[in-house]
């Protein structure tokens, strides 16, 4: 391993600009002549928009225009779309309701944008918004997914009877029924996976600019995938042809899924910029983000696990209602289906699985991918069932897991996935050692002496990353391919620019991608620059989400570097007057095998461009290669997290006293960065388990609509984390990478709940397990015990 190559904990190249205040986020961009947009949003969960009177607002100082859904429709701006077609079990297609960028005719959730006010300053736009008079006819609303399909629930969209988008299923119902008939024990759970607000610390922003000279548009936005934004805005919304729309996503301050999607505000900024002939800038306020950014999770589930007399799992049956909100966001349909039910086998050899998912509309903010996206929900279901099952059967939860682990690979699950590699026993064993699992009893007695209840909870999770191959996801309904591209531009002086279709928003690609180049070409990190996030520079790419940048994006980079090396060898052969097959490239030097004749990397790069040593008709001058990489399979990171918790029975307050994570991410490019990803994921998972909850009242008002009401994890809510790894390489990509971005958020929530329920001795506990919720669960359990 070189000091800057694969496996080295290199300090990040991108950090200098961030720690000196020189980052370049969308809100830091200001265009000459720009005006400011402010969105007027519906205060009602469901209402008919009878009229919008904007005369008084339009006359306010500084106001340039007030635009509504009527103008948007008149200009034939297309609707936003959901790009993954799900087919119901009866063969019908999912019911996608129209989603205009500005509400037209009706508003369907609190926060639905009804009008946009464009003014010289933001303050003027806000002042004018108060003068817009919208005449609403308020209609009954439904926010609770469990109520959405009831006969008495209001129907939100004409296309979706009983607010049902699809009724989908996966697996073998008959085989599962037989397993349950024969079962010696069945564990049953009702689970609510709480609705979350992603809350990347950088709020979303967009700037639209129109150039009349070239009749082209530019969008700066906070996007995780600028090319897909360009594609959708061109092909479906119809704002501009793809060749005359440039999308730039500069530094982006965290995404966690919420910046994957194509949102109304960016469409409106582009449309309005052309309409008024001025750049239009919009930056979300945090409270606005609560009403306008896609939320995450929100499942209501009943799940059952069948066991034989030996503690072996024989069947799993899951029924979930997934809330997709008022409109179908860009990838919403795929999250509770192909990213959820396909992971329900967990790390276990389960012969029969059957899962039914109903997706419903409600009068709430759209729900889409949020860190983990379907996989935390699946992990929560299976890891709760296994833990509770073990407790009911009187077995050690670690032993029950060991008994059921998949031990041979590849392993075909009953729910599509074919696990390619893993060693679940190894990660469990290492985690239990690091967590001193055997010493728990002693620690519990000590806690007891201090009047505290102590619990320990496990989570042996699996996830599927690097979603692909394109052919497979296409057959499941995905509207795009999920390959990645890379282009390696070698300069005449030997320095290199790598253009990637991935996008970094905290992941450190400028360092890790450069490490791969440094190792391969034997050049210093400083001689490598990573270019991303601009559709005029990078030809095409699918962006960054689903922990795909390493497994898919770096694989594309490796493929491009293979081509660079092959071409450079041809140049070197000409320079060294040797046969191409005799050229060996190692440590940045081309050598003729068996001789002392050699040429340095930089000399070969220069010769590729000056082209003096070869006939340009026989060998093309230049050194630039590109590659598209489509993986052969998903990757399957997995691991074991152990949470140890102390509960104060007087107050219900939980304190995480220890956290151990042992993850298998395959090959790791930069362990420092990977550990950082694990830390952050755990924090988000702990947030879901203990603190975070997007709460709607029965009328569809978001009760937790700001950071004053929605509890984000703070430094004090988290312990020092013990993070370690085991390694089995993925056979599905050239470097053996699996992906690490979501693991913490997938593993953590259920580890916390398993620990708290272990401590308090009752399984009746929903997330978030606030002090109040835990205290109430304890009282209820005590009362039940007394009554018995």
């Amino acid at each position: 391993m070189s000091a800057t190559g694969i496996g080295a904990a290199v300090r990040r190249k991108e950090d200098h600009r961030f720690i000196t205040g020189k980052g370049h986020y969308t809100d830091d961009v200001n265009r000459p002549g720009q005006c400011h947009a402010y969105f007027l949003r519906s205060p009602h969960a469901r209402a008919r928009i009878k009229s919008v009177d904007s005369k008084a607002a339009a006359a306010m100082p500084g106001v340039l225009a007030v635009l509504t859904g009527s103008e948007l429709a008149a200009d034939k701006v297309g609707n936003l779309i959901c790009g993954w077609m799900i087919t119901s079990k009866d063969g019908s297609q999912m019911k996608m309701a129209p989603h205009p960028a500005l509400a037209h005719g009706s508003a369907n959730h609190v926060g639905d944008a009804v009008a946009v006010i464009l003014a010289e300053t933001l303050a003027q736009a806000k002042d004018a918004a108060e003068k817009v008079n919208v005449d609403y006819q308020v209609l009954p609303a439904v926010a609770d997914p469990a109520r959405a399909q009831r006969e008495d629930a209001p129907q939100i969209h004409e296309v979706a009877a009983r607010n049902t988008i699809y009724q989908w299923h996966l697996g073998d119902a008959k085989a599962v029924e037989a397993a349950f008939q024969a079962a010696r024990h069945v564990t049953r759970l009702d689970i609510i996976n709480n609705r979350l607000v992603p809350n990347a610390i950088e709020p979303r922003a967009a700037i639209g600019e129109y150039d009349a000279g070239s009749d082209s548009l530019t969008l700066w936005n906070t996007s995780q995938n600028p090319h897909v934004a360009r594609l959708v805005i061109s092909a479906f919304v119809g704002i501009a042809p793809e060749n005359r729309l440039r999308v730039i996503a500069p530094d982006v301050g965290g995404g966690f899924g919420s910046k994957i999607f194509i949102y109304p505000e960016e469409v409106v900024c582009l449309w309005a910029a052309r309409r008024i002939g001025r750049p239009v800038k919009w930056v979300a306020e945090r409270s606005e983000a609560f009403l306008a950014d896609a939320h995450g999770r929100d499942h209501v589930t009943h799940a059952e696990m069948a066991f034989d007399g030996d503690g072996k799992i024989t069947g799993l049956r899951v029924k979930t209602v997934a809330n997709l909100g008022a409109y179908m966001s860009t990838f919403a349909s795929s999250i509770p289906t192909y990213l959820y039910a396909t992971l329900l086998s967990g790390q276990y050899d389960i012969p029969a699985i059957y899962c039914e998912v109903d997706a419903v509309y409600t009068n709430t903010v759209p729900v889409d991918a949020y860190r983990g996206a379907g996989r935390p929900e699946a992990t929560f279901v299976i890891e709760r069932l296994v833990e509770v099952g073990a407790r009911e059967l009187g077995l050690d939860p670690a032993d029950l897991r060991k008994k059921n682990f998949i031990k041979n690979f590849p392993h075909q699950t009953p729910v599509i996935m074919n696990y390619d590699a893993g060693d679940y026993l190894a990660s469990l064993k290492k985690a239990l050692e690091l967590a001193d699992y055997d010493g728990f009893g002693k620690r519990k007695r000590e806690s007891g002496r201090n009047g505290k209840l102590r619990g320990i909870g496990l989570s042996t999770y699996i996830e599927a990353c690097g979603i692909a191959p394109s052919q497979a996801v296409g057959s499941l309904g995905c509207g795009v391919g999920l390959w990645e591209s890379a282009e390696a531009r070698v300069n005449p002086t030997g320095s290199v620019e790598i253009l990637t279709g991935c996008h970094q928003h905290g992941q450190g690609h400028e360092t890790t991608f450069a490490q791969v180049v440094s190792e391969r070409l034997g050049i210093p990190l400083d001689n490598v620059s990573i270019v991303h996030g601009d559709t005029d520079k990078v030809q095409f790419g699918m962006g960054t989400y689903g922990s795909r940048s390493g497994a898919v994006g770096i694989s594309a980079l490796v493929k491009a570097l293979d081509k660079v090396e092959a071409k450079a060898k041809k140049v070197a052969a000409q320079m060294l007057e040797a046969a191409e097959g005799d050229i060996v490239f190692r440590d940045g030097k081309f050598t003729v095998a068996g001789t002392d004749k050699s040429a340095a990397w930089g000399e070969v790069a220069l010769n590729a461009y000056i082209a003096h040593k070869f006939a340009g008709q026989e060998l093309e001058p230049g050194l630039k290669e590109s590659a598209f990489y489509d993986p052969t399979n998903f990757t399957f990171p997995a691991g074991c997290h152990v949470c140890e918790i102390e509960v104060d029975p007087q107050t219900g307050e939980s304190e995480i006293v220890a956290w151990t994570a042992v993850d298998d991410f395959g090959t790791v490019i930069n362990p420092m960065i990977v550990e950082g990803q694990v830390h952050g994921g755990i924090a988000q998972g702990v947030g879901q388990a203990l603190l975070e909850h997007a709460v709607y009242d029965k009328d569809g008002q978001l009760v937790t609509g700001s950071l004053m009401d929605y509890c984000m994890p703070r430094a004090q809510d988290l312990p020092t984390l013990k993070v370690d790894m085991t390694t089995t390489k993925s056979p599905s990509n050239p470097l053996g990478i699996k992906g690490c971005g979501e693991a913490g958020a997938i593993a953590a929530p259920v580890a916390v709940i398993n620990a708290i329920t272990h401590a308090i001795g009752t399984e009746q506990l929903e997330m978030p397990a606030t002090a109040q919720a835990v205290w109430q669960a304890l009282q209820k359990a005590n009362n039940t015990r007394k009554a018995a």
Binding site: F18, G21, G23, I201, E202, P203, Q507, G680, A683
Partner: protein, 163 residues
């Protein structure tokens, strides 16, 4: 409009501003010091922390007209542009105390203020408690806590810095 004169990163600045202009807006929009960020609208996140007369202040909570004659230090002024990084900046880099970088300027300004008030030997609970006004969504705080402890020690060693 309100006239205001103050010092920002050692330079005298004057302006005539709308009275509702917040300090953070003045820094970002008038002075183009975009290192100070806005992450919320309820003074929870701390992305906008700067120093006013040597004390950490959330720049979204002050009107700029309130700061007549004040001495404001932002992330851009923490280290001499031609000199080495401030030890706290260096510690965040060394300990991977940042990912997306958006909360980072506020974190660093809070951390320096923490050292000024609490000294150079900061234990884990103290740092975590002191960070209650700063949100990070990326790092899980683990490496931020490590960075601040190390940065505090490095500041003691007499590296040239302004606070």
């Amino acid at each position: 409009m309100s006239a205001v004169a103050l010092t920002v990163n050692g330079k005298a600045v004057t302006a005539d501003v709308d009275p509702r202009t917040l300090l953070v807006q003045f820094l970002r929009e008038n002075l183009r010091l975009t290192g100070t960020h806005v992450g919320c609208d309820t003074s929870q996140c701390g992305a906008c922390v700067v120093h006013v007369d040597g004390k950490a202040v959330k720049s979204c909570t002050a009107f700029v007209w309130q700061l007549e004659g004040a001495n404001v230090l932002t992330i851009e002024g923490l280290a001499d542009p031609n000199g080495p990084l401030h030890p706290m900046q260096e510690a965040f880099r060394e300990h991977h105390g940042l990912q997306c970088g958006y909360c980072t300027p506020g974190m660093i300004m809070t951390a320096v203020d923490m050292v000024n008030r609490k000294g150079h030997d900061l234990d884990d609970p103290t740092i975590r408690h002191e960070l209650e006004g700063n949100l990070c969504r990326c790092t899980g705080y683990h490496n931020i806590v490590k960075a601040i402890a190390a940065g505090a020690k490095a500041m003691e060693k007499g590296h040239a810095h302004k606070t």
